[in-house]
């Protein structure tokens, strides 16, 4: 262990490091190399700190931090707990990967405003850490809104009309849901429970009942608009105008995960699994989530633009978590946590691959990607691995989450849901695998379409000048692709890790 | 107005008693009806009459606006100053009892000064209001317009 580093200090560091990073990046505006080195170093340091916290936690040392009284009786407080640790670990580890990837992507595209991009990235990361380690609902809400605001410039990055429109939808949906539903839900909770501290087993037991509990639960679920539950999902496709690293970050790491993480926190620490299942407060949300899941999968199937398809796939996959929480069973919650991890790894890979394809070939639409797989085998290979994980085929990370979710459904007597999952798995096969299949097995676009000049053998490949994307783009994708499979082997360990806080 | 000899003579006769009456109302205020407000208005009425009869330029010469505006502020300062004097001599704000060794005399002095301040302010304010409006008149009225 490092001298002088207490868990409290480390907890503080996780919040301060990204902020510090933003500062350093801002100062190093004129020097791209220093700026990007700083980004990488901070990301690594952050991940290290989180790992250190995790090791300490495993050794039995928890940490708590109270900063200021935001409202009387409601301090801004942080504490270390398993689910937050997992979220923080995933987010901080993927931040390194995504930083590496962004450096490659942004440089090859030579985008303007790169400093702003990295600053906002770091700020978004600080907010994510705040959400992960929030000790009460008000702290979580604070950082939740900070995350929305700090990612707004990222979505807006291109400053084109389309970007403005997308960013407008992005911020208005997220702020609207959070202020319209989330805030009243929090105030309501505070009013009836007198506390907002995250407490294993929930804080609402005996304080609210019947339809009111169901309404409160729904307020939370819709209020966490970042979880993209239908009908408040359309910010996600709208945010696709952002540069690919941002999409990957938003969809896989920070924003949507913050949403489902909030849902998990609400289910576990505000309502409590036992209370949820007793009151059946979450029963009707199961159906909302299931419908959201199926519809999103169908829409994904019909999208030709790869990023749009992935966006709808995200909506569907996030509904898994919501569904898992709504099932109000311990196994469902475990499934939700695992889904959070597996989907983060899988989806970030898919997005990085989409970005790599775009960097290398300039193609966005799936129909144009015929045969590209043979030219970019690593990219498409990583895509395949991640797709397998998203679909949930063992041995890949997604398999465990699906498994636990199904057990959860069986536990709470919602056998229909098992059917829903089977359907959605089939659908996800249908919308993900063709991308890979086209890439590897169909002839290149242009091989057939292009009239061949007579008597001349011109390689269409060299004509298209498509090569594997830059190393900075491909390597991160391959790493996360492999990781998304490897996570299969630690799945049970994660489940073991989170079980204690879920109650008996 | 040069030809309106009756008006001019009447004004000449009236203005000094008006001003005197104003002073009477001012200084008799603490014994009978009267006080700074009334006295100030009466005093200003005398000056305004002068201005009406002898013209705008004349009233500006007799009582220039900038002086009147200073007087407005000074009157108010006298009032507030008396209050602060009470404070400084160990009483409450506007406490006249402490102004002199004898509370009764203090009351007299205090109310006298305060009313004086009020009178100055009111008189000069009314005068300034009149002057400001009359300045906006583009021309003197012809005789037959009266």
């Amino acid at each position: 262990m490092i001298e002088g580093l207490t868990p409290e200090l480390a907890l503080g560091l996780t919040l301060l490091l990204p902020g510090l990073g933003a500062l350093v990046i801002g100062v190093a505006d004129r020097f791209p190399n220093i700026r990007e080195t700083a980004s990488l170093l901070i990301a690594t340091a952050l991940c290290g700190t989180v790992v250190w916290l995790l090791m300490n936690y495993l050794a039995g040392a928890t940490a708590q931090l109270r900063v200021v009284q935001m409202l009387p009786g409601l301090p801004i407080s942080f504490f270390v707990e398993p689910i937050g640790l997992i979220f923080a670990l995933v987010a901080s580890a993927l931040w390194i990967v995504i930083t590496v990837y962004s450096i490659g992507y942004m440089r090859s595209k030579n985008y303007p405003h790169q400093t702003r991009f990295y600053i906002c990235f770091a700020l978004a990361m600080a907010s994510t850490m705040g959400i992960a380690f929030a000790g009460n609902m008000i702290t979580l809400f604070l950082f939740y809104e900070m995350l929305t605001l700090s990612t707004y410039p990222l979505v807006l990055h291109h400053e084109t009309d389309a970007a403005k429109r997308g960013a407008r939808i992005y911020i208005s949906v997220l702020l609207t849901t959070s202020i319209l539903f989330f805030l009243p839900a929090i105030v309501w909770t505070w009013w009836i429970a007198g506390t907002l501290d995250f407490t294993p087993g929930g804080i609402l037991t005996g304080k609210i009942e019947g339809p009111q509990a169901a309404i409160l639960f729904a307020l939370y679920l819709f209020g966490a608009g970042k979880a993209a539950l239908m009908p408040f999902h359309f910010w996600l496709p709208a945010a696709m105008v952002a540069p690919t690293p941002v999409s990957a970050f938003l969809h896989a790491v920070a924003v949507v995960k913050a949403g489902v993480f909030t849902v998990l926190k609400v289910g576990i620490y505000i309502f409590g699994v036992g209370f949820l299942s007793e009151t059946h407060a979450s029963e009707w949300m199961i159906w909302v989530a299931a419908v959201s899941l199926i519809i999103a999968s169908f829409v994904a199937l019909r999208k030709d633009e790869l990023k749009a398809r992935l966006a709808y796939s995200t909506i569907a996959q996030l509904a898994y978590v919501t569904l898992g929480v709504s099932l109000a069973s311990v196994m469902g919650m475990v499934g939700g946590v695992l889904q959070l991890v597996a989907h983060a790894l899988g989806k970030i890979t898919l997005f990085m691959c989409a970005g790599a394809i775009y960097v290398a070939s300039g193609k966005r639409n799936i129909s144009e990607m015929r045969g590209l797989g043979r030219l970019m085998p690593f990219t498409f290979g990583a895509f395949l691995l991640a797709a397998l994980s998203i679909i949930g085929i063992p041995p890949s990370g997604g398999a465990w989450s699906k498994w636990f979710l199904m057990i959860g459904a069986a536990d709470s007597g919602q056998q229909v849901m098992i059917g829903v999952w089977m359907l959605s798995s089939v659908l996800s096969v249908a919308y993900l695998i063709p991308v890979v299949a086209r890439g590897f097995f169909l002839p290149l676009q242009g091989e057939k379409d292009r009239p061949q000049p007579q008597g001349q053998e011109v390689s269409t490949i060299s004509q298209l000048r498509v090569r594997e994307a830059p190393l900075w783009c491909v390597v991160p994708a391959c790493i996360t692709g492999v990781l998304s499979v490897l996570i299969y082997f630690v799945g049970p360990a994660i489940a073991e890790f989170v079980l204690p806080v879920l109650g008996p | 107005m040069r030809h309106h000899i009756i008006l001019r003579i009447a004004a000449q006769l009236l203005i000094p008693p008006i001003l005197l009456f104003a002073l009477y109302v001012q200084f008799h205020g603490d014994f009978g009806p009267g006080g700074g407000f009334q006295a100030g208005v009466i005093f200003a009425a005398g000056l305004v009459l002068y201005g009406l009869v002898y013209g705008v330029a004349e009233i500006h010469r007799v009582a220039p606006t900038h002086v009147a505006m200073k007087m407005m502020a000074i009157g108010l300062l006298i009032y507030i100053g008396v209050g602060f004097a009470g404070l400084g001599l160990g009483g409450k704000y506007l406490d006249y009892n402490v102004l002199l060794h004898d509370p009764m005399a203090g009351q007299h002095l205090g109310i006298f000064l305060v009313e004086l301040g009020v009178g100055i302010t009111v008189a000069s304010t009314m005068l300034v209001i009149y002057q400001c409006f009359s300045e906006h008149q583009s021309r003197d009225l012809a005789d037959d317009e009266w």
């Binding site: 805030l183 009013w191 | 502020a73």
Partner: protein, 503 residues
């Protein structure tokens, strides 16, 4: 010695400084006097607030005449909190004003401008501190009369300031006269003008038609002054065409003081135990407050003049305050006081930021905001923070207000009201979004050489902006003061005569 006389010095120092300014020739000297006296008032009000919070009600008898015969300055937690608010905004505007007014008003007129500003400031402080109902009217008119002229001074930029001031004068005078009528009726019934004494006698009298009529006149009179929803027509024009610094000052203080005065009457003089009093809260304030939130915010969305937009937003925010009052519970009243304070900070901050833009560009239409995000980064950053606060993003004061307003609604079980309030704040998202997009996403016009505003304007702006953030992250001071203020009104209608009751 000084400390004992602080309640009256608080009002008198600015009041005495006002004629002093009129005697001065040099604008710089006059501004020095303004800054010194407002700063004194700020320090004094803070001292008073802490004194009241720790030792209870302070009563000062002017001329050593004991109440209810003499005029009494009575400071409890409620009005000393409002004193802090007024003097804080006043001080910041005074520091800001020198540069800003330099552009908008000729040097000869500046000492007089300072006089009026101080009179207005002192009048507001007087309304807040006095315990005498007629004295309140006098101070109210001192501040109103000087306000009309201050608004009219915007005429050097735009002649519409004159008509705005004229309308304001008519409405304000009718409001004040209504108050005097109501007061006359209540006085005829009770024979006293001291508010605490009046309250006692009203309790003895109970219900009577004279009392009801008097009450109605008083509430409508204040309603005109505080721009309660359908009586708000004077406000947008007055704020739009007034000199920038005056807009900021008035937005932060004028309506707030009127709200305080009406609260004083609703809770101290007439207590909500009177049947008709409670009825007004629910059947009048609640629907009007909600209507203000939606109608005024809706109108604000379509404004292209930013000052007018903010003025309509002020009307909407008064709606929030009234809704808070209408809850008639301690949380609602706490929310009201909090929002009085918080809204003053953020709206004054926003208008000061707009003033910086006017200083540099000479206009405040949304088209001049194009590209300003890069040209005036500090000003626009402050503007964005103010806007976020108006929307109610956590870590800003706006969130704290919203929190207590929603909590108050929940305590009454008024669900739809809670939702209406949060939904109303989303309208702010639309109109601030428009400005922010213009400032940051649209290119500035060709040849635009606008630079950042001078430091003496930025400093007060940022003091308000930082307090907007700091009091949003750590709201202990404001919430505890607001709660003490609410307690003072709610549980202690006859301060000094009954035991202090608290939760």
């Amino acid at each position: 010695m000084m400390l004992a006389h602080l309640p009256v010095l608080e009002v008198l120092v600015p009041l005495a400084a006002a004629p002093l300014c009129a005697l001065l020739r040099r604008p710089l000297l006059a501004w020095g006097v303004v800054m010194a006296s407002t700063t004194f008032a700020l320090g004094g009000s803070l001292v008073l607030l802490f004194q009241v919070l720790s030792n209870g009600v302070i009563s000062y008898h002017i001329g050593d005449w004991a109440p209810p015969w003499g005029i009494e300055f009575r400071l409890d937690a409620a009005n000393s909190f409002v004193l802090v608010l007024v003097s804080l905004v006043g001080t910041m505007c005074a520091i800001y004003g020198r540069k800003s007014v330099e552009r908008e008003i000729s040097p000869e007129a500046q000492p007089l401008f300072c006089t009026l500003l101080l009179l207005c400031f002192a009048g507001m402080l007087g309304v807040t501190s006095t315990g005498d109902a007629f004295n309140l009217f006098v101070f109210l008119e001192i501040s109103s009369l000087s306000t009309y002229v201050l608004v009219a001074m915007g005429a050097s930029r735009d002649k519409r300031a004159l008509t705005a001031a004229f309308t304001y004068l008519l409405v304000g005078t009718i409001g004040a006269t209504f108050y005097v009528i109501g007061l006359g009726l209540v006085y005829a019934l009770t024979g006293t003008l001291n508010m605490a004494d009046m309250a006692l006698r009203i309790t003895d009298i109970g219900d009577s038609s004279t009392l009801r009529v008097g009450f109605a006149f008083i509430i409508i009179g204040f309603g005109l002054k505080l721009a309660i929803f359908p009586l708000h027509q004077w406000l947008p024009n007055a704020y739009t065409y007034a000199p920038s610094m005056v807009s900021a000052f008035l937005a932060g203080t004028a309506t707030k003081v009127a709200v305080y005065a009406s609260l004083r009457f609703l809770y101290t003089v007439f207590s909500p135990n009177l049947h008709f009093d409670a009825q007004v809260l629910q059947t009048l304030f609640l629907p009007l407050g909600l209507a203000a939130i939606f109608v005024a915010s809706g109108v604000a969305i379509f404004q292209s003049n930013i000052k007018r937009l903010l003025a309509y937003s002020s009307v909407a925010q008064v709606g929030y305050i009234l809704v808070g009052v209408s809850f008639a519970n301690i949380t609602g009243l706490t929310a009201t006081f909090l929002h009085l304070f918080n809204h003053a900070i953020m709206k004054s901050g926003l208008l000061l930021a707009v003033g910086c833009v006017v200083y540099r560009t000479g206009s405040c239409s949304i088209s001049t905001f194009r590209g300003l995000g890069h040209r005036m980064p500090w000003t626009m950053a402050a503007f964005v923070i103010g806007g976020l606060s108006m929307i109610g993003i956590p870590a800003t004061v706006g969130f704290i207000s919203k929190w207590y307003l929603v909590l108050g609604a929940l305590e009454r079980g008024w669900w739809p009201v809670a939702f209406a309030m949060v939904a109303g704040s989303l309208l702010a998202l639309i109109y601030f979004g428009r400005i922010v997009e213009a400032a940051y996403l649209q290119p500035s016009p060709e040849g635009n050489k606008v630079t950042e505003a001078p430091l003496s304007m930025l400093a007060p702006l940022w003091v308000l902006t930082i307090s907007c953030l700091a009091l949003g992250i750590n709201s202990e001071f404001t919430v505890s003061s607001a709660r003490a203020a609410a307690n003072a009104l709610f549980f202690d209608p006859h301060p000094g005569l009954s035991m202090q009751v608290g939760p």
